[in-house]
Amino acid sequence: MDFHLTNEQQMLRKMYREFAENEVKPLAEEIDEEERFPMETVEKMAKLGMMGIYFPKEYGGAGGDVLSYAMCVEELAKVCGTTAVIVSAHTSLCCAPIFENGTEEQKRKYLPDLLSGRKIGAFGLTEPNAGTDASGQQTTAVLEGDHYVLNGSKCFITNGNVADTFVVFAMTDKSKGNHGISAFIVEKSFPGFSTGKHEKKMGIRGSSTCDLIFEDCIVPKENLLGKEGKGFKIAMQTLDGGRIGIAAQALGLGEGAVNEAVKYTQERVQFGRRLSQFQNTQFQLADMHTRMQAAQYLVYAAAMKKQNHEDYSMDASMAKLFAAEAASDVTRRAVQLFGGYGYTREYPVERMMRDAKITEIYEGTSEVQRMVISSRLGVK
């Protein structure tokens, strides 16, 4: 068992960290306050290959590995939860399913623009009546000659208002239940496709979250992703990978909060001493750091397993479950250590706490992760 990062991974971490500090951190507060999508950051990340990290150069990717991608999301999340999820949703939920399930034509058509970051990707599974119960799909797709006609809507779609390419799920055969769901690659420009208004959220406020609306939306037959009826399986496999990204986001948020709290408690003086000199502060920070370090091992292990084409589904679930709950706990404790100042928007910890909460919910709630893990354990 080798816990060392490769030379390349160490160099990348250095680059991610410098980029996050210099390009992302200065905008984090503003994009949260203004609920503004940081397109200028996406353009910079695209130039550096950060929008297609672990995909082969053959399709326009950067030729890296899954762990390098997870580390990128982690380092971005340390300073900005919004920027981290932009990369994660684009990479794991759109680029990945096309790469893993697409025909050669589909890959050559869509991946170069996505992996280079010229176009942004998104994933449309969730509906008003199909959240955790993803099989309750009501969006329909009817084959008519050389195209499908999609009708329905999706909600809470990350990158929804900025993406050009969407991996969307719809019911092609209601009678077959889960086996009647199919996946499609939908372009923003397809007739009958539109997006809804920006969702106002507790956290990751700069992330674009909105509805996708399909009104007799025409999707060419060749845009069916995988086979008809295989959509649910594709969705679940995609979410397995996505969990690594979100776990990395949660990991970064928690670590960022610990960093901020360590700095602050060494400056703040009460009762004639620095907060860091009180044992409570020391013990709190020890606990917080230990939790995030444990989360890091889980996240990295899941990434390595995916990279090695091993079965990583349970590992990804455990990583996301643990990292998300740790992040929520650690960011809350960070606010507490900052006291009154931590509650103000002058300091970043309240934003980190608001950002962390969603990691317990999206891409499979913590309850869903527990279902996956217990099921894999054989506990019925």
Partner: protein, 266 residues
């Protein structure tokens, strides 16, 4: 055409400067970075490469860990790297260093249309001597403090930024230019660049490689041969905030005189 960029790995003096009990710099305890002005030189080379598809070779004189810095330069887009490293070169001052670097650059080879780029000065030594000394030893025209560089074929036009204004000078390749921070904003390593870095060539020149080069005088390299030796490095005591005396007129002057007299300054 190729561009040879001379870069140096230096302690990060923007953080804490650690000093040994004997007054010398505790380099081992400090983070290392690529000298900032050298990053500007490298970025200038890479910009010219973007426009002309020329080759960029980075060279450094330093201990083995400096190879890590060279790999970062390769990840930024440089094509080849040369590490000049030997015990015999250790402890060199600028005279000795520039001798070794000139020999190394000459060994790499300078064609008629090549350019050598250096940073203006390193943040640890702060002498700004090595670039000009290399130029002298290699008989290259040198232009220093470049705030802008334009290359058109064999013509190199440099806008120098001086304390009191600018000076634009045109020369022809081969030549040497030293770069300042106002020249450009260095790029980050790219993800694909990082994954290519370890497959690009990195050659090591040691004492054996260079000892017979005509530019090398064994008596003037290394700590023993250096005309300058560092006697002591120390952090100067921090200046206090000073004292502000408010108000104008005779009263304030009298107060000042009183204070200076009490301190036996007047």
């Amino acid at each position: 055409m190729k561009i040879i960029v001379s870069i140096k790995q230096v302690p990060d003096t923007s953080g804490k400067v650690a000093v040994n009990p004997d007054g010398t710099l505790n380099r081992a305890s400090m983070q290392t970075i690529t000298n900032p002005d050298d990053m500007n030189a490298l970025e200038a080379a890479l910009k010219i490469k973007d426009a002309t598809d020329c080759k960029v070779i980075v060279v450094t004189m330093g201990p083995p860990p400096a190879a890590g810095m060279l790999r970062e330069a390769l990840a930024m887009g440089a094509d080849e790297a040369v590490l000049v490293s030997a015990r015999e070169f250790g402890g060199s001052d600028t005279y000795a260093t520039s001798q070794v670097l000139a020999a190394a650059i000459s060994t790499i080879g300078i064609e008629d249309d090549d350019i050598v780029l250096c940073g203006r000065q390193a943040i640890d030594g702060d002498t700004a001597q090595v670039g000009p000394q290399i130029a002298e030893k290699l008989n290259l025209p040198q232009i220093t403090y470049a705030a802008d560089i334009t290359v058109e074929g064999k013509n190199v036009t440099v806008k120098r930024m001086l304390e009191d204004g600018y000076m634009t000078i045109k020369t022809q390749t081969p030549c040497l230019v030293t770069c300042i921070k106002e020249l450009n904003q260095p790029r980050y390593m790219s993800v694909s660049g990082v994954f290519e870095a370890y497959s690009k060539p990195l050659a090591t020149y040691n004492y054996e490689t260079l000892k017979d080069h005509p530019l090398i005088d064994a008596t003037t390299i290394g700590l023993k041969g250096s005309p300058t030796n560092i006697f002591k490095s120390f952090t100067p005591p921090q200046k206090g905030a000073g004292m502000m005396l408010e108000g104008d007129g005779k009263e304030t002057c009298e107060k000042l005189v009183g204070i200076l007299t009490a301190k036996h300054i007047i």
